[in-house]
Every structure is written in structure tokens, then in C-alpha cells.
């Protein structure tokens, strides 16, 4: 990571912020993007002071697609170069609301999928042309199988996982590595105080595991690792049985 220039989208989310800290600590230069302009500036100041690395920031609105090329350009200008992008965007939303209100469902799809697709499309083309670099997309175990409790969010994350898979296939020959991250339960605003949480990992643990996976160029990584086995079981339950479960 030393000397690498990275665009990090979703820098004010718990995982995004923890990743920014990990990368800066290892010497990466960062351009941060997040919806909350007030907050992203504070996160950037914090990291700049702690790790004394070059850092800059922009406001990033996932749904303002036409602003994304500008943001990419700004990141490249500020960093002088671009070695990779990490996208840690996510909005769980409310499944019950999404069922009643299409606008809410649409918002979940756009902020978890379409918005990511937009910024990644521009960045992928840039990196492909450059002939090297990396793309890390934070998806979710929720995208592995549809469940009644969060299938709107899950469908967006599932779409993102497929998109990243296709992108990995396309960019392989140009030397751009694409990694899909599927975190399980992470101790964030999304999970804090929610009933039914178990094996909850801290954002710092998750960030450290993502960094490790990046170094060893993993394609798809479950974090923490045991979610691979949990999801394997969840995926192989036959549908006639699965549809009867309360998940």
C-alpha cells in the first residue's frame, strides 16, 4: 500500500472509515468521497494528522450519476495518479417500508447498486486503459440468497456481486484486479442494538482482513472467514425448504 493512490468511496461509513485508517497507516495516499460533506472533511483531517499521508476529499452523492466523472477526475488530479478504488457504500433501508413504498425500494437499489455501478464504470475504464490497478467492492452476504427480512437490500448487493464478477472477468487481461468483499455482521450503525445479531466483527477487524485479502489478491472474500461456511450452508438449503424458513 505504501505510495499507492486510492479513491475511497463511502469513507464515512464505519467500514469505509476503518479501511481509510488501515490504508493510510500503510502509507497510501487517499481521496475520500462520501455523501456527508461535513463529516468526510473531518475524517480526512483525522487521517491526514494521524498518518501524515496526502489526503483530499469530495462530496459524493451516489444518485447524482452525472457528477461521478468529475469526482474521478478530481481524485486523479489531487492524487497525481490512481492505483485503485474501494467502494464501501451501503444503505440497509427498511424492508417493510420498501414493500409498501416503491420510492424507498428504488432508493435502496440506487444507493447500493446503481450508484456503485456508475462510479465503477468510469473508474474501470480509466484503470483498464492505464493497464494496472485494483477495484474493491464491498458487497454483502445478504446478496447470496434472498430472504424475507432484507431481500430488497439483498437483491441490490446480489446484483453488485454479479457486476463485480463480470468486471473481474473483463479486466483480468488488462491487469486490473477486482475483489468482491462479503462482510457478515459488522459492528456498525446498521447492526448496533438490533436483535438476532451474532458473531459481530468490529470495523477495524474487517478492514484489516480486507487489507490482507487485497495483498493476496483474492477474488471473492467472506469477512470474517467463517461466513464462507455459514453462507455455504445457507446457499445449499433446497428452495422447497428455504421458502418455509423464517429468515
Amino acid at each position: 500500500m505504501k505510495g499507492k493512490a486510492v479513491l475511497l468511496i463511502g469513507a464515512t461509513s464505519s467500514i469505509g472509515r476503518a479501511l481509510a485508517h488501515e490504508m493510510a497507516q500503510q502509507g497510501a495516499a487517499l481521496h475520500l468521497g462520501a455523501r456527508d460533506g461535513f463529516e468526510v472533511e473531518r475524517v480526512a483531517q483525522d487521517i491526514g494528522i494521524r498518518y501524515q499521508v496526502p489526503i483530499s476529499w469530495s462530496t459524493f452523492e451516489a444518485l447524482d450519476y452525472e457528477t461521478h466523472p468529475e469526482l474521478l477526475q478530481k481524485a486523479v488530479d489531487n492524487l497525481g495518479t490512481l492505483d485503485g478504488i474501494v467502494v464501501s457504500l451501503g444503505e440497509l433501508g427498511y424492508q417493510k417500508t420498501a414493500q409498501m413504498d416503491f420510492n424507498h425500494a428504488q432508493r435502496i437499489i440506487h444507493s447500493n447498486y446503481t450508484g456503485v455501478l456508475s462510479i465503477l464504470t468510469h473508474t474501470a475504464n480509466y484503470l483498464e486503459q492505464q493497464g494496472h490497478g485494483f477495484i474493491v467492492g464491498i458487497s454483502s452476504v445478504a446478496g447470496d440468497r434472498g430472504r424475507q427480512s432484507n431481500y430488497t437490500y439483498g437483491s441490490a448487493k446480489g446484483a453488485l456481486s454479479l457486476f463485480l464478477q463480470g468486471l473481474r472477468n473483463r479486466l483480468f487481461k488488462s491487469g486490473v484486479h477486482v475483489m468482491t468483499v462479503k462482510p457478515g455482521f459488522v459492528d456498525t450503525k446498521m447492526t448496533f442494538g438490533k436483535p438476532g445479531m451474532f458473531l459481530v466483527a468490529s470495523p477495524k477487524q474487517v478492514a484489516a482482513a480486507i487489507m490482507k485479502a487485497m495483498h493476496s489478491k483474492k477474488d471473492i472474500v467472506y469477512i470474517p472467514w467463517f461466513w464462507f461456511w455459514i453462507m455455504l450452508i445457507i446457499r445449499i438449503v433446497p428452495e422447497w425448504l428455504f421458502k418455509r424458513l423464517k429468515l
Binding site: 473531518r42 483531517q45 447492526t191 448496533f192
Partner: protein
């Protein structure tokens, strides 16, 4: 990988002393700007902020409402390389400050005996360190504060701006509002080492004399005192003095990187020790060995700052040594002119009744800052005592003596002081209360401690 189950469902919580245990609803904002929404979510229930939960008693507990965890509010916002002035959010810990700034030659102007405290906690208790007699408490180096009041309004306060809120907030136990940011000074150092000087004192008189003799030469001073020794040895102690070491003071092999320390392994207490293990006999043996371990009258050495300031931080969960019932720390301060006489009487009481302490720390303090700040010019003694039968009666006796001599008990450590005793010990309370009533008329900010001390009417 250590995993836990976070929950804002009703959760039992305690301070570092593990007494009392109180159920509370938890909230944990991820950013300062979400505080207002969180306060709205709490409705009319009282709220108290909690940092790392290292206050010993019930100051960061709230049985009647919400406890708001500030651990994720830890952004460092500004640092001036020329003056050492740091501005950060209240959840930044002393550990983070040390890790970030010691390698650049800066050290906190005031640090308590653990680095597991947040800046918010340091302000709320106006903590002091081994240099209080010289450098004052945390608030002495504090330039300004940002606070969210009960009205939802964010205010800046300092010695010049909203100064009454400033003086009510330093040492104010988080009861004037939520502290969100603080700006304070670090001081420059040449190395990460301390030139330390340990001297044995065979009794209290000698300890006082040595404090008088050596304090002018040293920035830091503290004494470990054997409070079970009696008769001629009453108050026998080991005094520890220290100054920041200059580059030429430290061993040659460290001189190329004088500000860097090698990481040390941490120890863990894996389970609660049986409650009765720390009794007067085992402690008496420990104290005799500890005192006897230092063979010569004086030892001078160069040690790293971690070992000098934070010896207990190497043992995680050291609070488990006192068993499941927990312990209290009783720390009091007495005005200089009566210190010697009062300490004699109190130490006599300890050694006669056997209510000693593994860790008894004696230290000279300078004058008071905030209206509810603990320090006053005089001597302070801190005793750790496991909770068992008879303790509350014994501590009430000590309270009486403390009040008789015009001293006070430290609220950061307290879990049991009565409302009446509190009022006798803190004469500036009415002044503090007038600000509290103005900025928080409906007692939105309230803790188990403030409820116990009858702060709210």
C-alpha cells in the same frame, strides 16, 4: 478474532470498579452530527455520555435512561506543529494521542494513571496526573470546549467565551451537556523516556520531608505507600520522581530513535479471582515484599514512559483481581496545612482496622480549577478496597474525617458517597448548580452518580 454482541437493548453496565452494576439503554453515535437525532430518540429520558468506562464508580451509568457511548467519536481535527495545540473529538483516547504524537516529540501536558481514558472523560473529571503540583489539572491546558446542551444547541466555551459553562463543565461529570470537542496543549519532549528517581521513606514524616526536598527538581512525583504498616513504620513508602529524559540521558542503543518504543506484550487476567484473596494478610505480605524489593535507599534509572505513567495498563482487566463483587477506590485530598495530622489519623485507622490496599498512592496536588474539580492544594491518597462486609461503615468514618479536615473525595472514583457528605466537601456546588439549572433545567443530563448525590431536585 474477538467478537461481541452489541446491543442497545437494556444492557447491564458498570464502571471500572465493577460496582454498582446498572441496567441502561445504549446509544452509539458514529458521528458528532448525529448526536442531535440521538438525543431526540432518547425522548425525555435522561442521558449520560460514556467514554471508555474507566471511572471507577457510577459516573458513566444511567439506570433511568440512556448511556451514550462516545467511542466512535474519535476524529483528530487539527494539530499545530509549532505550538502543540490539538483539537479533537471527545472520544479520542489518551492511548491514541500518545501513539500519534510521542513519535513526533509531543506528550500530553497532563495524563492520568491510565491511557485508557477519553478526552471527554478527562475534561468531565478534570483529571490530574503526577505533575499536578506543577502543571495543574487537564483543564489548565484546555483552550476551549464544544458542548451540546439540553436545548440541542452547540456552544463553544472557554475562559473567555461562555466562561461559566466552561468552569461548570470541567470537572462537571458530563452533567452540563455532551462534550463533543476539546482543544488543548501538548508539551514537547525529546525522548519517550523518563529519568526516574525512587527513594524509600521509612515513615510518613520522612515521606513528607522527601516530597518537600525533591519536588522542586522534578516535574512528576508520586508515592506508593504501605497503608498496613503501623507504629514507627506508619506511612512507609517509596517515592517516585521523574523528569522527561533528554536525548543524552537515554541508553546509546536507543539514541538513534529516542521517540520510539518497542511494543510490549500485554497480560490478561483470565478470570475473576476469588473475592477473599486480597485480604489484610496477603496484602501485608505483598506490601512487605514490595517495599523490601528495593534494596537501596535510592534508585535512579531511565525507563520508558509507559512503565512510568501506566504500569497497570500492561495488565488488561486488572479489575478482575478484586473478584466478582468488585472494588471501590477511595481517593481523598486534604489541605496542606492539615495533611500530616489527618493522614496520620486516617492511616492509623486503616492499619488498625486492616482496611488496607494493594495500591495506595500518595501525591501532592496544587490548587483547584473547575467548580467541581477534585484537586486542592494538599495531599491526596487513593486506596483500592474490595467490596466486603463492613466497608461502607469504614468509609463513612473516613468521610467524617475528610470533612472534619476540610478535604474532599474524588467523584471519578466514587460509588457510595452520600448527598450530604458531597455538599460538605464541594463548597462551590451552589455556584455549579446555578449554571446546571440554567443550561439544563429539566435534567436531561443525569447519571447514577448525579442521582445518588441528589444533584437534581
Amino acid at each position: 478474532m474477538k467478537l461481541k454482541h452489541p446491543s442497545n437493548l437494556e444492557t447491564p453496565l458498570s464502571g471500572w470498579g465493577r460496582y454498582p452494576v446498572v441496567k441502561s439503554y445504549l446509544q452509539r453515535p458514529e458521528k458528532v452530527s448525529s448526536f442531535r437525532k440521538i438525543l431526540e430518540e432518547c425522548g425525555k429520558s435522561p442521558v449520560i455520555a460514556r467514554g471508555l468506562g474507566r471511572s471507577l464508580g457510577d459516573a458513566a451509568l444511567n439506570a433511568k435512561g440512556y448511556t451514550v457511548l462516545t467511542q466512535r467519536l474519535n476524529r483528530i481535527l487539527a494539530f499545530d506543529k509549532k505550538t502543540g495545540i490539538l483539537r479533537c473529538e471527545a472520544g479520542v483516547t489518551m492511548k491514541e494521542i500518545l501513539a500519534t504524537f510521542v513519535p513526533r516529540g509531543w506528550f500530553p501536558a497532563v495524563t492520568p494513571g491510565t491511557k485508557f481514558v477519553t478526552v471527554g472523560g478527562a475534561v468531565a473529571f478534570d483529571v490530574h496526573g503526577k505533575n499536578h503540583h506543577r502543571d495543574g489539572s487537564f483543564s489548565h491546558h484546555l483552550r476551549s470546549l464544544e458542548l451540546i446542551l439540553a436545548s440541542g444547541e452547540t456552544v463553544q466555551c472557554s475562559r473567555q467565551e461562555n466562561e461559566d459553562i466552561f468552569w461548570a463543565t470541567v470537572g462537571g461529570m458530563g452533567l452540563t451537556g455532551i462534550i463533543t470537542e476539546a482543544e488543548f496543549a501538548l508539551h514537547s519532549i525529546q525522548t519517550a523516556y523518563i529519568k526516574s528517581h525512587h527513594i524509600k521513606a521509612k515513615n510518613l514524616d520522612e515521606a513528607f520531608a522527601l516530597f518537600d526536598e525533591y519536588e522542586p527538581q522534578y516535574q512528576y512525583s508520586v508515592a506508593w505507600i504501605d497503608c498496613l504498616a503501623s507504629g514507627k513504620s506508619l506511612g512507609r513508602s517509596i517515592l517516585m520522581f521523574g523528569n522527561h529524559a533528554a536525548r543524552e540521558d537515554i541508553p546509546l542503543q536507543q539514541q538513534p530513535e529516542p521517540l520510539h518504543l518497542k511494543p510490549k506484550p500485554n497480560l490478561k487476567v483470565p478470570f475473576d479471582l476469588p473475592a477473599g484473596l486480597l485480604n489484610r494478610y496477603t496484602m501485608s505480605i505483598f506490601n512487605t515484599l514490595y517495599y523490601g524489593k528495593m534494596r537501596s535507599k535510592e534508585v535512579k534509572s531511565v525507563i520508558d514512559y509507559d512503565s512510568f505513567f501506566y504500569p497497570l495498563d500492561f495488565i488488561q482487566n486488572w479489575n478482575r483481581l478484586y473478584g466478582k463483587q468488585g472494588f471501590v477506590q477511595y481517593q481523598w485530598v486534604l489541605p496542606t496545612e492539615v495533611s500530616r495530622e489527618a493522614l496520620y489519623r486516617m492511616l492509623q485507622l486503616c492499619s488498625q482496622t486492616g482496611w488496607g490496599s494493594f495500591l495506595a498512592v500518595l501525591k501532592r496536588l496544587g490548587s483547584q480549577e473547575g467548580w467541581l474539580s477534585f484537586p486542592m492544594a494538599g495531599y491526596t491518597l487513593a486506596l483500592d478496597m474490595p467490596i466486603r462486609k463492613g466497608l461502607w461503615e469504614f468509609l463513612r468514618k473516613l468521610d467524617k474525617l475528610v470533612i472534619e479536615y476540610g478535604g474532599r473525595v474524588y467523584l471519578a472514583k466514587d460509588a457510595r458517597l452520600s448527598a450530604e457528605a458531597f455538599r460538605s466537601m464541594y463548597p462551590n456546588f451552589p455556584q455549579w448548580l446555578s449554571v446546571k439549572e440554567r443550561v439544563d433545567p429539566h435534567n436531561r443530563f443525569s447519571s447514577a452518580l448525579s442521582q445518588r448525590l441528589g444533584v437534581e431536585r
